[in-house]
């Protein structure tokens, strides 16, 4: 990637966050598109925790009106499974259909071809890369505890 990035160390791993876009607190990047829609995808932080993604399923359809934090889908990866939630309120404009058959682009090109969906709506609560990094500083400890706690079950 030619544009500038901020980095966050997850242990030994350097997670990179391009500054050409904004970020949602639930670990999705957000890129404004022409026409007012915003494209969302997983950040390096989320992908690092998930590792290889095997399966992605949406419970919502293009055109649906979503509430913020509404459950919208499920993901299964090498290390984890999780429900997914809408990063903001608004209309779901487009879903990346390619990922439904083969979700590997999420790992190969998370900031490009691995995008998840596009939605329009109020994007004012999104964070800058700097603010997202502060958010990560604050949640990294908790995330580590969550993962370790579950692994020791």
């Amino acid at each position: 990637m030619s544009e500038s990035c901020l980095t966050f160390m997850m242990g030994e791993y350097r997670a990179e966050f391009p500054t050409d876009r904004r970020y949602a607190r639930n670990h999705m990047w957000a890129l404004s598109l022409e026409g007012g829609s915003t494209r969302f995808g997983f950040t390096a932080y989320a992908v690092r925790l998930l590792q290889d993604v095997y399966f992605l399923d949406w419970e919502v359809a293009e055109g649906d009106l979503l509430a913020e934090k509404q459950e919208i889908g499920q993901i299964e990866s090498q290390k984890a499974e999780a429900s997914l939630y809408s990063p903001q309120a608004g209309t779901l404009d487009r879903i990346n259909q390619v990922l439904l058959k083969d979700p590997s682009a999420i790992n190969v090109d998370k900031y490009g071809e691995g995008w998840l969906f596009e939605m329009s709506g109020d994007a004012s609560a999104l964070l800058s890369a700097e603010m997202y990094l502060e958010h990560l500083e604050a949640v990294w400890e908790v995330t580590q505890r969550t993962i370790k706690g579950q692994m020791n079950r």
């Binding site: 989320a46 399923d57 009106l65 509430a67 934090k69 509404q70 984890a80 429900s83 939630y85 969550t146």
Partner: protein
């Protein structure tokens, strides 16, 4: 005719290479095994009632082992809904999340269920053939499944062998030779029958009729016309594809826990007999899930009403909250935590009057 057993491998929806590999290893381990036919179908839950997968399964009249990425209860009742029925075969394998400790808990759960309420399944007669459902998620090693299937095949074939001994006492050597020759004459199939079926992922409720009491709470609750009743006034998933993708709300209002959504992440909703956790880490909170332990976390009925409202809004309809079709037994829960309507206020004010 020597006994034949059909083993069905229902494929995973996911591209997980480990899952694909396990499926292939189970198939490979069974090819050439005496008396066993192998059929591969897409994910059982996604098969359409009139699609090639279900038609193929309907055509099998003998004993059946079904290996799927589902809880055995879910697999069994999906088959049942498609008129693929038989006596429940008892497997020695565990399902996902089951441990040895669970046996006691299971027995307790069964005791609870054994209350003398009549169940829908009580009135039904099933064909004599056996259906065994194995959970492919429970073991990483294909040999566990192969050994169990061979054990089942032996168990099912045993009466034939006993009969043979009973006819003649000790067979003469030439009789034995003829018998063995007949067994080996027909070459065993060296490949599996693979059924393909196009079609998307489906989402609909599956009713466990051994738990269902036909109380019909689910018909009252669901506002999308999924449920109906059959000619004998018994509950029926009449329009499965009217069901809203991802919404498990009716299973939360079912008093008997009889409604299964096989793809739901919560084991009890997905057809588990217990509440053991999943094997993978749950990162849902990372992506915005509410903390289930937080003060004010929702109760099951509130979750059901909220999930239903979300679907009503998505469908362009009005939310109804807890005003419509909620089970009567939850009225006390209802008045405690939900915004009160005028009627509640009226009743409250009556209560305050000291007669």
């Amino acid at each position: 005719m020597p006994h034949r057993l059909t083993v069905v491998i229902s494929q995973s929806r996911s591209q997980n290479p480990k899952k694909r590999q396990l499926e292939e290893q189970v198939v490979a381990g069974l090819l050439g095994e005496r008396g066993i036919d192998v059929t591969v179908v897409p994910h059982l839950y996604d098969l359409k009632p009139d699609g090639s997968g279900m038609l193929c399964l309907s055509g099998i009249s003998g004993d059946l082992v079904v290996c799927s990425w589902l809880y055995p209860r879910a697999a069994r009742w999906i088959l049942d809904r498609n008129q693929i029925r038989g006596q429940e075969g008892k497997t020695l394998l565990k399902s996902l999340g089951e441990t040895d400790d669970d046996d006691e808990a299971d027995e307790e759960a069964i005791d609870d269920l054994a209350e003398d309420k009549p169940r829908v399944a009580d009135q039904r007669e099933l064909p004599a053939r056996r259906i065994y459902c194995l959970d492919l998620r429970a073991y990483d090693d294909a040999s566990a499944f192969r050994e169990e299937i061979v054990r089942i095949a032996t168990e099912l074939a045993t009466p034939t062998i006993e009969l043979n001994g009973w006819i003649n006492g000790n067979p003469k050597p030439e009789q034995m030779e003829r018998y063995l020759a007949a067994e080996t004459a027909a070459p065993e199939p060296r490949q599996a029958t693979v059924i393909e079926e196009e079609g998307g992922r489906r989402w609909y409720p599956v009713i466990d009729l051994s738990r269902c009491t036909n109380c019909l709470e689910c018909i009252d609750f669901c506002l999308f016309g999924v449920y109906g009743i059959d000619a004998r006034e018994t509950i029926l998933v009449e329009q499965p594809d009217n069901c809203r993708q991802g919404c498990p709300a009716c299973s939360r209002v079912c008093p008997e826990n009889a409604i299964i959504f096989p793809q739901h992440k919560t084991p009890t909703i997905a057809g588990s007999a217990d509440v053991a956790g999943t094997l993978k880490i749950d990162l849902s909170q990372l992506f915005g899930a509410p903390d289930p332990g937080a003060p004010g976390a929702e109760k099951a009925m509130e979750v059901a009403a909220r999930e239903r409202d979300e679907q009503l809004l998505l469908a362009g309809r009005d939310a109804v909250g807890m005003q419509v079709g909620m089970p009567k037994r939850h009225e006390s829960e209802l008045s405690g935590s939900v915004a009160k309507d005028q009627l509640d206020e009226l009743i409250d004010s009556l209560d305050e009057l000291d007669f």
